[in-house]
Structure formats: C-alpha cells, structure tokens
C-alpha cells in the first residue's frame, strides 16, 4: 500500500529523499513514540510534543480533556503531525554539506475526536502498548472517571510522507581530496537498566517486557 502524494505531502526539497511507501512510513512511526503535533491557535502556530501510537491506517493521540491542545484539536481543525528519528551527524569536508541522518514522517489532516467507546478503549490500549509492548495487561486499567477526563484523537495516514537521509556525506567533487576527516557520527536512542519506583518494595521483579525492553529496530 502506498499513500499517493497530495499537494501538501509531496516532498519538495530534495525530492529524492521522499517516500510515500506505507512500509517506510509505518516503520518510522512504529519506531518513534513522541510526535510533534502542530495546529493553529488564534492565528499562530503551536507545536507540542506528545505520545502517539499507530494502529493500521490511523494514528492515535490522547490527552487530558482540560489541555489547551486537546480542546483545540477536538474541534477537528487541521493538524500536522511530525515524527523524527535521528540516526547520526554527517560531517562533510565542506561546512556547507554538513547534515544529519534522520528518518521523518509528516502527516497532514483533520484529527477526529473518537467518541465510540470500543474504538476509544482500543486507542488508549494502543498508546500504552506502543510505548511498552506487553504493558496494558499488567496495569490497573482505566476507570470511569479517568476515561471521562481523557480525550482520544484519531488522524488518518491518508496524507502522509516520509523523508530519509542516510549514508556517508556527499561533497562536491573538487573537495574529496581535502584533508578534513569525513564520515558519520552515529547516534542511537539506547535503553538503560530499569529504575524501580522507590515506593515499591523489592517483591515485584521487573517483568521480561521491562528488563529486555527495546525499540523495534533494536529488538
């Protein structure tokens, strides 16, 4: 499956880095877990980081019913949701060609306020499971009051595009003989040993989904 580029999603700058292939888009969305959600409020742009999950062709974002962001987004206004993974710093021989290796997805559309109770329950589960697979069934599930104070938004992947830069630096031909070191400093989001809540006695061992936690690409 492939999302056809719309006027908005067509990658205009360095189009050779663009992709509308859903496998590429999905892999980036599934690796990340914080998106930057942009919307227009009182005429000016607002960009807020927030957790999300992909489920099929939909991205779910949730938050407090009292938050400014959720109140605005519940009006089903236009949003732009961007997820960026940083893979490395690209050191070219020329200052001009320095770059960053990254994978990003941009999704445009109107977020839909989810009101159906079955989809709401599935959406909340998806967000927790996207952060830590296996966790949902090992928690105290949401009660009525918590559900009532939480909003769930759904954004279709219909207008999505990916942009990827990878590999070594690209210098101008005449610069390759210069004696500056060139290459990539790779960066990786790594998992450190879990830190138990100090208010929990030692009787609860870290479950396997915690002690062996990895993001998908590192699993």
């Amino acid at each position: 499956m492939s999302a056809a580029p719309s006027r908005r999603t067509r990658v205009k700058r360095l189009p050779e880095r663009g992709s509308y292939d859903r496998a590429t888009i999905d892999a980036i969305l599934d690796e990340g877990f914080v998106c930057h959600l942009g919307f227009v409020h009182d005429g000016y742009p607002v960009v807020i980081p927030t957790a999300y999950a992909r489920s099929g062709d939909t991205i779910y974002v949730h938050g407090s019913a009292g938050s400014r962001m959720l109140r605005e987004l519940a009006k089903e206004i236009e949003v732009c949701l961007t997820v960026t993974l940083v893979d490395g710093l690209v050191l070219a021989r020329s200052a001009f060609h320095h770059s960053i290796n990254y994978r990003s997805v941009v999704v445009f559309g109107r977020a839909r306020l989810v009101e159906d109770q079955v989809e709401r329950a599935a959406g909340f589960e998806a967000v927790v499971e996207h952060l830590v697979p296996g966790r949902w069934d090992d928690t105290r599930l949401p009660n009525e009051k918590e559900l009532a104070t939480t909003r769930l938004l759904a954004l279709s992947l219909e207008e999505a595009s990916a942009k990827v830069r990878s590999g070594p630096p690209v210098d101008d031909d005449e610069d390759y003989d210069l004696h500056h070191w060139a290459g990539v400093i790779p960066l990786q989001l790594t998992v450190q040993p879990p830190v138990p809540d100090p208010r929990q006695d030692g009787s609860v061992a870290a479950p396997r989904y915690v002690s062996s936690y990895r993001r998908p690409s590192q699993a």
Copy 2:
C-alpha cells in the same frame, strides 16, 4: 535571567512542570540539535524538523533559499519552535498515569531573516559548532555561491518556556499496593563509534572532537 511568561508561553497544562528560567531553557536547547519548527502555510499548519543552534538570546536556523520552509519563514511570519529531549518511559501501576520523562522548550515569535554579513557568518558557524564543537575550523568554509543559496533565520528567546517531567511514576494513593511493577525505563541518545566516509583513504585519522564526541550532558 528569566523570560517572563507571555499569554502564549505560560504553561497551562500541569503548570508545576513549567519553567521560564533561562538556565533551564538554555540547557535543553544546548543539549538538543533538531527542533520542530511550526508555521502556517495557506492556512494550514506545517511542522518541519531542522537543525538549529542557540547563540546568546537567539536561535539560528538555516536552510536552502529554495526550500518551501525558508521561503515562507523569510516573510517573517509567526513560528513556533519546539525542542524535545526524551529521558525515559514512566510505568505507573495504573494505565492512566503512564507518562514520558522529557525536557522540552517551546519558543514563539517571528523569525527574522538575517542579512547582515557578519551575523550571517557567525550564525552559520554556530549551527555547525552546535552539532559538532570544534568542527568549523576543520572544514572547507562556505564559498560565495554557497552563501548566496543559503538563508539564515534568527528567532529571539524572548517568548520561551520549558517543560520538564522527571522522576518516578506518580500513582493514585490507593494504587500503590497493587502488584504491578512500577518505575522508569531510562532512554539516552548515545554516540556510536564514528564511521569514516568510504571515499576517504585511511590517512586522515578521526580528530579528537569526533572520536570523543558527546552531547553536553554526557561530556
């Protein structure tokens, strides 16, 4: 120095997490190197990841004069620039209180197109030095043509705020006796060994600023 909260920067949701202290704001901006820049284009929001650097009270962003983003931003329109650092996944006993430890900065304002040649040169240097301190003097510096095709934008830190969540999960009192593991899975952006450009022969050793590269908080 402290940026007073404006109508836009006042942290409304969970205000105890908000900060207008410049030391807090600067430390986050200096640790990160990719921002998400939001602006309004044809009435809809656009959020683009891009490199940046802080220099004193100013954030610099640069890009190709041909890019959609730079063409729009050169009109000195309102932007929202957000930098987010992810520190860990917070596993509470209740699904509802799951969270992410993070540090973020949001800056509102109108980006100014830098035309003064001295400030332009300093801004380009700041962006490269922010990515890799020590690198600028070890590159082939920009030539006339490269300078002519690059735009530099400056955004004041006047309207900036930080938001930070750290530490263990916070559960409802009655949930602390539940037998679900609770704690934090820390995450860290780590530096992997440098990968030399395959087009460079082995005669250029990686300089110290590459082989011992760290982000500021890990130095």
